[in-house]
């Protein structure tokens, strides 16, 4: 599904964002990407959705090489991924419903099917009642749910989440995390970057830990360790 092979990524101004990172995330898997800020979590995600290209090494997503991808194929890759950010990245002037619908419209989906599909995902994230609300009228947790609905509406095979709970209070965090678990349970792979170790400990999922750009621990390969000792 997602395969990194000896990936290096240099910062434009020198220095390495990623050093020799290799891992493989299977279809339907849930994986945490952990590490301090600046450890390279976001860079890994950016490489997956082809916002960055590896300096060397190989990044494959559903069998397609990000290294060799033509710019015009990047949008097609992103339509098969769902992406969620810490700051939600919703369009402020559009309602929840319009924000979700927009992700379908850009794919050229048949207009007659859009409304039903949008309502279905909004129901799935528990926001059907607030379909007409604008982002500013929603709480942080609700905004993140809209963002997740938008990520889901194209039925992605992988959901990428970059610190999705970073801006949320504890209750909203639990809700959003449970939603991601439900999504994973229905067959979508989830890659979640987070430094919230409480969350990581809550669930029996794979953990990939980065430190200064290097992969220092991968629970799928390395010996299990006492997670309480992890940074």
């Amino acid at each position: 599904m997602i395969k990194f092979t000896n990936v290096f990524k240099a910062f434009p101004k020198g220095g390495l964002a990623l050093k020799d990172v290799s891992f493989h995330i299977a279809k339907g898997e849930f994986a945490f990407l952990t590490g301090h800020s600046g450890a390279g979590k976001s860079t890994v995600l950016k490489l997956i959705y082809a916002d960055e290209r590896p300096t060397s090494g190989d990044v494959r997503v559903s069998g397609h090489s990000v290294n060799e991808m033509r710019p015009r194929d990047v949008p097609l890759l992103r339509r098969r991924l769902g992406i969620v950010f810490q700051d939600f990245r919703l369009l402020e002037e559009r309602t929840a419903e319009e924000n979700v619908a927009f992700a379908l419209e850009v794919t050229g989906a048949r207009p007659s099917t859009i409304a039903a599909r949008v309502m279905r995902v909004l129901t799935q994230v528990g926001l059907a009642a607030k379909a007409q609300a604008y982002p500013r009228e929603l709480s942080g947790g609700e905004q993140q749910r809209v963002a997740i609905a938008r990520a889901l509406v194209n039925e992605p095979t992988v959901l990428l989440a970059d610190e999705p709970t970073g801006n949320l209070d504890e209750r909203a965090t639990r809700g959003v995390f449970q939603l991601l678990r439900d999504i994973n349970a229905s067959g979508t792979a989830v890659v979640m970057a987070t430094h919230d170790l409480d969350l990581v400990r809550q669930a029996p999922y794979r953990v990939i830990e980065l430190q200064e750009g290097a992969l220092v621990y991968d629970s799928a390969v390395d010996e299990p360790r006492d997670q309480a000792a992890a940074p």
Binding site: R72, P75, R89, L91, E93, F102, A103, E105, V106
Partner: protein, 285 residues
């Protein structure tokens, strides 16, 4: 409704102030260009009026038979440069002189014999009313055996030529400068609109919008802004023209085609301005 049209119109609705500002800026840039255009149009009109007075007169030798003159008239009319050729008989020449030269009326009345020769007066078609063509036609007329002399006011025609060239040069240089300024101002305005929406563009890309999909509403929006700006500019120009006509001098306005060309120019700059701004923006992020 088509998605592109909907997105373009929504952008107006969401940023009414900036949109209005863009349209106003475009309108005033094109208005300045339009005012200059009016000056050019009126200058051309005036020059054309002067040009119409370019005339070649071939004086005929006394006693030229009327049949020869009639044939010559036909020949001259057949010249490609000639618009009209009119025969003026000796009597007509005298009658005209009496009517026009009031101060010599007494002298002319007491004449025993008509001293004025018959002539052929020739007007050239538009486009041939310059020194070169006038000389060519005059030369050809001199070739006729019964033509005594040919007059066309060489100095005057040459001066007219110079004036025409000067007007064209000023028109092109100043017009181009105004057009470039308009393009820069309009381009900057549209760039602002694109930058204002850079966050939105980034989000569009994240959800898998192609560059073409992102670009199209901007292009349409730019063209609409240019079009509206152009229409407002024509309106302003007309108001200026009406004021000038009323208080300063009789002048001409653009023809329908010229007005349409200004509006189309606005739409085109709007379109191209958007294309380059969005293109540059998309390349950068």
């Amino acid at each position: 409704m088509n998605l592109v049209i909907r997105e373009a119109l929504l952008a107006f609705k969401r940023a009414p102030l900036l949109s209005a500002l863009s349209v106003t800026t475009i309108a005033f840039s094109l208005f300045v260009l339009g005012l200059f255009g009016l000056v050019v149009v009126n200058l051309q009109d005036a020059l054309r009026g002067v040009e119409e007075r370019v005339e070649i007169v071939a004086y005929l030798l006394p006693g030229t038979p009327i049949e020869t003159t009639a044939q010559a008239l036909k020949d001259v009319e057949a010249f490609p440069e000639v618009q009209t050729a009119t025969y003026v008989s000796e009597d007509e020449a005298l009658a005209r002189a009496r009517a026009e030269m009031v101060e010599f009326r007494d002298v002319l009345r007491e004449l025993e014999r008509n001293p004025l020769p018959a002539s052929i007066e020739i007007k050239l078609k538009p486009g041939f009313r310059d020194a070169e063509h006038v000389s060519t036609v005059a030369e050809r007329l001199r070739g006729f055996g019964f033509v005594d002399d040919v007059r066309f006011g060489r100095d005057w025609v040459e001066k007219l030529d110079r004036l025409r060239q000067l007007a064209a040069a000023v028109g092109i240089v100043v017009g181009a400068a105004f057009a470039v300024v308009a393009i820069i101002i309009i381009g900057t305005t549209i760039r602002m609109a694109v930058l204002q929406r850079s966050r939105e563009i980034a989000i569009m890309r994240l959800v898998g919008a192609t560059d073409g999909f992102i670009r199209r509403p901007f292009l349409l929006q730019g063209a609409i802004k240019g079009l509206l700006g152009g229409l407002v500019a024509i309106g302003l120009s007309f108001a200026a023209y009406a004021l000038i006509n009323r208080y300063l001098l009789q002048s001409a306005f653009f023809t329908r085609e010229q007005a349409a060309a200004i509006v189309a120019f606005g739409a085109l700059i709007g379109l191209l301005g958007s294309a380059t701004s969005v293109g540059r923006h998309l390349k950068r992020v």
